[in-house]
């Protein structure tokens, strides 16, 4: 076990929420990424989180935060848009755009940001308690 276990737990949590923010940033940046109709659309990135040392019902124990278990991808189909002027348009004048909803991404961005802040707040409080422990006997 680490010397200050809460801090390593929080480091795990923070990295999950930061990865989530990275993924949302990537999704938003590619909101208007145009592809040819014979190519796959940009696929939305979904971060999959899982608990570390979750234990089981009999011995729940104390876990060590969360980690990124992997990344799942959204639809490669996207949506077809009629834009005959576009240099990537096919003979029917269609191009492929990703199927990403801006409102959903913004909502997720706020969720991830709040989660990140909550984790940081815990770091502050844990630090106070650890400092108190270090003052014992002084």
């Amino acid at each position: 076990m680490a010397t200050f276990p809460v801090l390593s737990t929080m480091a795990n949590g923070l990295s999950v929420f930061r990865t989530w923010m990275d993924a949302v940033g990537d999704n938003l940046a590619n909101l208007n990424t145009v592809r040819r109709t014979d190519e796959a659309a940009f696929q939305a990135r979904f971060v999959v989180a899982e608990a570390v040392d979750y234990g089981n019902a009999a011995t729940p124990g104390i876990g060590s935060g969360s980690r990124v278990a992997g990344v799942a991808f959204g639809s490669a189909e996207g949506r077809l848009v009629h834009d005959p002027e576009h240099p990537l348009a096919d003979e029917d004048g269609m191009v492929r755009l990703p199927d990403i909803d801006m409102a959903t991404q913004m909502t997720q961005l706020i969720q991830a940001q709040r989660g990140y802040q909550a984790n940081l707040a815990v770091v502050d409080r844990a630090r106070d308690a650890y400092l108190a422990a270090l003052q014992i006997g002084k």
Binding site: P5, V6, T9, M10, N12, G13, L14, V16, F17, W20, A49, E50, A51, Y54, A57, P60, G61, I62, G63, S64, G65, S66, Q111, A112, G115, A118, N119, A121, V122, R125, A126, D128, A129, A132, A133, Q135, I136, G137, K138
Partner: protein
């Protein structure tokens, strides 16, 4: 040196630090699907052990919250966790202060009040 008071305080600090780690784990898993919030209880065991005169026998028990979950199977309640964390931290500081005071008494005894 290691009397009942010191032993009780020591176990209280252990229990509080376990609760702190659990709350940290809960908050790190704020959005993890199928995650049930962890709970720590050491007060009941410690209180029984102190009554029996042997605080060293106190145990820390952990469990999972059975509160209703959201659509993703997660039941971490950030408000509750934050309040419990603040309470736990204050109690930790209070208890560590009590340990310091106890050592202060010892120091007084060693110095003979000088």
């Amino acid at each position: 040196m290691h009397d009942v008071t010191m032993s009780a305080l020591h176990h209280a600090l252990r229990g509080l630090s376990a609760r702190q780690r659990t709350i940290a784990d809960n908050i790190a898993n704020l959005e993890t699907p199928e995650f049930l919030a962890g709970r720590v209880d050491f007060e009941s065991s410690l209180s029984a052990a102190v009554q029996a005169g042997d605080p060293g026998a106190a145990e820390i028990s952990t469990s999972r919250s059975m509160a209703a979950t959201g659509v993703n199977g997660n039941n971490v309640n950030l408000d509750q966790e934050t309040l419990t964390l603040i309470e736990t931290d204050l109690r930790y500081q209070m208890t560590s202060q009590a340990v310091s005071n106890k050592f202060g008494l010892l120091r007084t005894a060693i110095k003979g009040g000088a």
